[in-house]
């Protein structure tokens, strides 16, 4: 495990500096460089998300930090988030995105979608994830 930047880390830092929100925090976890940002959604619900490169999946994962998503929604066909908090940003090819910016942008879209679900539930209405054609049939409560 090295704490020094690899060429990939250096490239990602540069991309993050230029394209991610200026408030993005950076830190290493178990040798992995993490980029933590807050996405403020149109529904007024903030989401804290971390982005990092996963060598096993050879791509970038977006993992939700907060808020906690209710258990029944932690399903790639319902809330489009896995049990471990990894957000579906890879589609059918896996959990990962090929690059940091794609992971960032897709996780922002995801946040808008799940915020709509949360707002609908808070209003007592059934709902479903609005931005996917891979939902399980039917709405969830």
């Amino acid at each position: 495990m090295t704490l020094e930047d690899s060429p990939r880390d250096a490239r990602d830092r540069r991309i993050a500096k230029e394209r991610l929100p200026s408030s993005t925090r950076k830190g290493r976890v178990g040798g992995r460089l993490n980029f933590v940002f807050i996405k403020q959604t149109q529904m007024g619900i903030p989401f804290e998300i971390t982005l990092y490169y996963d060598p096993d999946e050879d791509g970038y994962l977006a993992q939700l930090i907060s808020p906690e998503i209710e258990r029944d929604w932690r399903n790639p066909h319902i809330g489009h988030i896995f049990e471990d908090g990894v957000i579906c940003v890879g589609g059918a090819k896996g959990r990962a995105s090929p690059d940091l910016l794609t992971a960032f942008s897709k996780s922002c879209v995801w946040a808008e979608g799940i915020a709509i679900m949360i707002a609908s539930r808070n209003a007592g209405r059934p709902t479903e994830f609005p931005f996917s054609d891979n939902n399980h049939p039917g709405e969830v409560g």
């Binding site: 830190g27 976890v29 178990g30 992995r32 050879d58 399903n75 589609g91 059918a92």
Partner: protein
Amino acid sequence: MTERENNASRGSDWRARLEGIVPPLIGTRKVMIVGCGSVGSFIAAELARSGVRSFVLIDPDTVEWANLTRTVFGHADIGRLKVDALGDHLKGIFQDISVEAHPHRIQDIQFGPDASLVQRVVNYCASAGSIVTIPTVSAPMSLPQRRHLEALVRSSAGVLARDPAAVEVGRLLIEETRREGGLRDLLGQVDLVIDAVDDPAGRGRLNRYAYAAGVSAIFVGLYVGAKGGEVLLSIPGISPCFQCATGGRRSLANLSSDRVERTRDYGTSRLVAEPALGSDIHFVCSAAVKLALSLLCVDDEKAPLGSFITRALEQRLTSVIFGMEPGYHVFPKSHDGALGQYAFQSVWMTPTSRPDCPVCGAEEFRTLPE
């Protein structure tokens, strides 16, 4: 143990059909089979019949009726763990075969201390600012474990918060470091890994960890309907890893209108099981078995089987694709003009490492398992 003692439970002429082809040293080799379905169970049985005596079997699934059409399992195995059913099958061939069974996904077997757990620490204690301290738990830890844990925590400086929850997570971390029989241990015991999983995420993990552990691996894959398939060798320091080797396959996609990549489940990205002839699947598996046996006895200069792989490696041929149907995929082009072509063709390829590959690329890009 002497050769005579080794063979105490076998008839004196058990090697009669192998003599001069497969050397006795094959009996000292240990093979890890990851995925015990139509591919893994067939390969394991063939290796056992060829003299391999020790296996590590990894697969979380149980035997279903649909498996019986193309595996070594029988109706009495329905509902049993595949690793147990396969273990019994192998011992049914030769009773002295030893099997270590792990009914888990490869992703669920920790390599060492759990990096994803550290990731969860961060997610849980997201507010940046201070450093979590290692809780003083009177758990017996070895010095290397302790140092590793400390390194993990130090590396998280500035991200982890001082939070009561972190103490609980720290305790979990220590438990993780004490867990025995991790993937690193398992890989350290085997001479070869056979990857026969239908889960790309598991395959990616195995690819990286086997390469980092210096263990050769053979990746077996089937295309849509088993009309074709591939066998990819990953030999650390000699050939590219699996991820890079698949680049050769992808480059061929431009030469063919046939869709070769099987459908994946959106949620899990696992390959969706689909109808296929067992004979087509096992055609590809048989090639993998011969390559495996060749790799396992490559050290024995007297064994001609070893030269099968060394000659391929001399030409840097570490990836082979097969076609089982006439006119399939790239074969009409690759075999254009060759006499007597119909089906069951192969093309060998020389894949190269991607410079920024985290497994086999340039040193500065490699990401070793934590």
